[in-house]
Amino acid sequence: MLPSAFTDLERWVDPFAVESDDDRSRLRLEWSLDEITAFHQAMFPRFAAIMEHLAEVDPRSMSDEQRLLVALAVTFVELSAAVEHYGPTGTNGARDIIRFEAKHGLLGLALAR
């Protein structure tokens, strides 16, 4: 579950609240641009409130709810290029993003010491 202030975004948790770069890249390449655009449009007006909420959260000691919200927000910011930059080209982005082998752990937390 997301923090109570963001229950309106609950419907996007599955499939978008994922923690690995690989999962986010697969979402971006495998979901339709229409689906990604719908997610983008739902998240965009809520982003400032999400950031305000997360500004009070230590990334090194997050509750499950907070971690889920971070995962959703990270997917949003990573997929935004598909909508804002690639959308007009009819693609979701360079397919080679899947070749970037992440070494920084889930949500980048392995290095965010």
Partner: protein, 394 residues
Amino acid sequence: MTQSARWARKYPELGTGPVPVDHFVEQQYLDFEREHIFRTAWLNVGRIDDVPTPGSYVVREIEILRASVLVTHASDGVIRAFHNVCSHRANRLVWNDGGTCRGYLSCQFHGWTYDLEGRLRGVLDEENFFDLDKDKLGLAPLACDVWEGFIFVNFQPQPEETLVEFLGGIVEEFGKRGLEQLSLAFRYDVDDGANWKVALDAQNEIYHLPVLGPVHGAFTDFFATNEEGCTRFNEFKRLGRHTVYSTGMNPEWVPAGLEQLILEVPTTPAPIPQNGVFDFYVIFPNFVMGFLPGSMFTYNFWPVAVDRTIWEIRAHFPRAANAAELVVQHYRKARLRDAQAEDIEGHENVQAGLASRAKTTMVLQDEEVQIRSFHYVWRQYLEAARGRDAAGVA
């Protein structure tokens, strides 16, 4: 000569003619690079973030030299590097990528144990060996030094130059930048189907920005350009064998979309002095430090074969003070990663074109001067090696 030819006039020794391309595709040149560049130059193998505390260690595979390097941070605070090879029967000592230990590392073959200063401290069934002198059986050391938090090693038994001598003008140019404000936040490895110099060349200019893809296009809007939308450096400097180009910011740039929201999120300031809004340093042969406001990225281009490279990409930011800042850093990381993903196809298409032998040279314009300078230095290494060969001293 072009109308401006700013960099050609500044560095006439680089010339303006076409540059041969056979060294991108022929094995003999990779063999030369192995022995005369990678085995002699100081090579960056990471940053203090890789071994942040006493007891930490990291293993780096240097494929072109068939070498596995163990970097340690011992209890005396010194960063050291060794061949990751057990003195017993030359097994790899450490089999994982790194971590933290209690000051000792044991070989998983027969349990020989070393401290992080490289001394052999324990031998299983020691009495059954013959005249074993543990003092002479420590790990084989590599020359290792740290500059501005970057860890370098040198494979020469007695390096011809110290690290500071090797870096030359970079040390003075860099001054004290305050890089301790930044931490390693993200790291990617990309298996790139191109020669390492093709991959580096592609990053060594931003002439391609308006053309290569939509994310490159967004960066083009951010940078200063001429009336055709082509980027123009505000500075290019040769610093011995190393170089830097810098680009100014487009004063009319207006953030749009998510970028606008991102800029409204408070983040930890990291005032790193820069020449422009984007500084791109190349430390010969294969290490890059790039600076954008408040962040640094680094590249290491590791040759694997004449047409294959591991492109190691790292992004550094201030330690995220809160989860919102972490999200912002993911955004910055992803923008850069998206641009790099647009680059990959370009690297591999260039490699295919070069491998076809359709062309024997490439043609460079004035804003591609950093490529020209790199190949000028590369050729100096080649000529020096040929000179030594001719003199029978190679």
